[in-house]
């Protein structure tokens, strides 16, 4: 491997690099959204792209999430590969008809004749003191809809490889980025690579308990695993990386080995991703389980503004550590 294998990028840089590479590779890839051009989004994820690709391919739109998402659906059907930027995940509510009734169904309703190769990039995650309308993790909504794929990267390496695959995919893909993670650094090789959708990744190997974690919760799970190691509990951290397609096998195999599982996701627990993953594990590893699968997600409340209130709404290294210790009978 060349020296560049040790290159470090932030999560935001990895996203930007994936977009730049795909835009160089394929002239039909374009970006549209609010303040995506010169501003490079409020998170500066797209800084520099308009300078290289011009305003014809990095398009600032009005604040019309439904309008430009709908436009992207039509553009994707007719020869382009739009990457739509929805600034905050909370704003997906405004795009729901375009994504759920249009993008997700066009291929099926047309008997496979039209396809919608588009990507929607958006964010999730609380604890940024942004209150109830800028802090939600609503990815479960899209996971529920046949026809959509849902990607939730947790490292710069995964973000780059998965985004490149998402852009090349022939289907509408929703790509959730944890806004607290944009500055997270990680190793990203300079060489071209992609990561297929539907392949989980074991982020830490362990023996005693499996922590299945998505997106923002992967770092939390790794933090908890470090704390658990100090008291002699070996935790395995499995990151599904994509909610759909879902790599059920890797999840089940891990739990068959460890016999205990906690599922972590920053969305709401009720009727959410943790419920689905726990069900997959319970069905697939039933005879190996020594304890019921535990779920940890956001509390069932709108995300509050006040810092001490907000902080208790989502799992932390410490709360996961304690839950795991209890599950392992070491409380």
């Amino acid at each position: 491997m060349p020296d560049t294998a040790d290159r470090e990028l932030t999560f935001a840089q990895a996203i930007r690099e994936a977009l730049a590479e795909e835009m160089r590779r394929d002239a039909t890839v374009c970006i549209m959204g609010e303040d995506v051009a010169e501003a490079g989004t409020p998170f500066k994820v797209l800084s520099g792209l308009v300078e290289e690709f011009g305003k014809d391919r990095v398009l600032d739109t009005p604040i019309s999430e439904a309008g430009f998402t709908g436009l992207a659906v039509g553009a994707a059907m007719t020869g382009l590969r739009p990457v739509v930027d929805i600034m905050f995940g909370d704003f997906i509510t405004l795009t729901m008809d375009q994504m759920v009734n249009q993008a997700a169904k066009v291929h099926y309703m047309s008997g496979g004749k039209w396809k919608v190769p588009m990507v929607m990039r958006t964010t999730l995650g609380a604890t940024r003191r942004s209150a109830a309308q800028h802090s939600q993790s609503l990815h479960a909504w899209f996971c529920h809809v046949p026809g959509l794929k849902v990607v939730m990267p947790s490292t710069p390496f995964d973000a780059k490889g998965l985004l490149k695959s998402a852009i090349r995919d022939e289907n509408p893909v929703v790509f959730f980025e944890d806004k607290m993670m944009y500055k997270l650094k990680g190793s990203v090789p300079a060489e071209e690579y992609t990561i297929p959708l539907g392949v989980a990744d074991v982020k830490r190997v362990g023996e005693d308990i499996t922590l299945v974690a998505t997106s923002s919760m992967v770092q939390v799970a790794l933090g908890a695993a470090a704390l658990l190691a100090e008291i002699g509990i070996s935790a395995e951290v499995v990151d599904p990386r994509t909610m759909w397609p879902l790599d059920e096998k890797t999840l089940i195999e891990s739990v068959k080995k460890t016999s205990r599982a906690i599922v972590l996701d920053e969305g709401y627990e009720r009727y959410g991703v943790t419920a689905e993953l726990a069900s997959v594990i319970a069905a697939g590893a039933f005879y190996n389980l020594d304890a019921p699968v535990k779920r940890m997600g956001a509390m069932h409340v709108p995300i509050p503004f006040s810092p001490p209130l907000e902080d208790v709404t989502v799992p932390t290294d410490q709360t996961v550590f304690e839950a795991a210790r209890t599950l392992c009978g070491r409380a």
Partner: protein, 330 residues
């Protein structure tokens, strides 16, 4: 059919009128058979008939190339046929058969056909406004010269996304025509009860070229559409065309007793005085551009064609149930 004394241009026009007459008639006879299918309980679900509004679809689609795009609505059979769809595969789709345009997975409200530029009929009111605008965006970015026509009923005027995409279309100067078919009734409610202010100024406020036309006069629809399409095609931007028309049947085939929202006399007046097919026929006969026998023969011919197409669909097989999970993902 044209006489030797006419100029070539006039003869071209006469051919166009005759073609449009035949196409309108085809749509009406198709829809008549659809009603028949429903009445005979052969059709699963419902259908929203286009009878009475034929001049809009025909007048506009006649100005389009085969590869130009359209999006349609729940009341979409007329648009699909006018854009070139075959009646037999349309009927098959309406009956949920394997040989239908969408392998039976779409049905009456979702007919789509890439071969004729049909991006799909849409059962969400105003649901395809974004798609049509996006197709125009692709056409512009890829330099293909295609125009997109977005058909919708006046009920869609209540949807915010229409105004979002008209704003986008004008900002990007996209080759898209928004065609509002005002058939007076938003389902079971007169449009005046749901539509404040003026319709055309909603489009002109965004800077769109906007016009209104008698949607029962296919020659007038064609004439204005030709201008708007040519304008869009050469890069002068989007337009909005308001077509004033009338829905002869109910909101759908099951909407039989309609007197609580409109009178039988009103329906009768439109049918006898403002029918797009009768009026064009009258014009063609008066001008001696066609003879009664020929037009009658067309009627019989098309009636037979529609019956044959319907029988093809009735006899066609349903999709095998193992196809249910196919086409969810590309």
């Amino acid at each position: 059919m044209t006489t030797a004394t006419q100029s070539p241009q006039t003869s071209e026009k006469v051919d166009l009128w005759l073609r449009m007459y035949r196409q309108m008639l085809a749509i009406r006879l198709f829809e008549t058979q659809v009603n028949e299918l429903y009445t005979r309980a052969l059709m699963p679900g419902l259908a929203h008939l286009y009878i009475g509004e034929e001049a809009v679809a025909v007048g506009i689609c006649e100005t389009l190339n085969r590869n130009d795009y359209i999006t349609s609505t729940h009341r979409g059979h007329g648009h699909c046929l006018a854009k070139g769809a075959s009646p037999d595969r349309m009927f098959a789709e309406l009956l949920g058969k394997e040989t239908g345009y969408c392998k039976g997975k779409g049905g009456s409200m979702h007919i789509a056909d890439p071969a004729t530029g049909n991006l799909g009929a849409n059962a969400i009111v105003c649901g395809s406004a974004g798609i049509a605008t996006g197709a125009a965006f692709s056409s512009q970015r890829l330099g293909t010269g295609q125009v997109a026509v977005c058909f919708f009923g006046e009920g869609a005027l209540g949807q915010g996304v229409l105004y979002e995409v008209m704003n986008l279309a004008q900002l990007f100067k996209l080759p898209v025509i928004y065609v509002c078919e005002n058939n007076l009734y938003t389902e079971y409610t007169h449009y005046s009860e749901t539509t404040a202010g003026d319709i055309l100024t909603r489009a002109t406020a965004f800077g769109l070229e906007a016009a209104a036309v008698d949607g029962q006069d296919v020659r007038a629809v064609h004439s204005i559409a030709q201008k708007l399409v040519a304008r869009a095609r050469k890069g002068d931007g989007p337009a909005f065309l308001l077509c004033n028309t009338y829905r002869y049947h109910g909101h759908h085939v099951g909407d039989i007793n309609r007197e609580y929202y409109r009178s039988k006399q009103e329906e009768q007046t439109w049918k006898t005085e403002r029918d797009p097919i009768l009026n064009l026929r009258k014009f063609l006969l008066e001008q001696k551009l066609a003879d009664d026998a020929t037009l009658e023969a067309w009627n019989d011919e098309l009636e037979t064609e529609m019956k044959t197409a319907m029988e093809f669909a009735i006899a066609a097989p349903y999709p095998n149930i193992d196809k249910v999970e196919q086409d969810v993902y590309a």
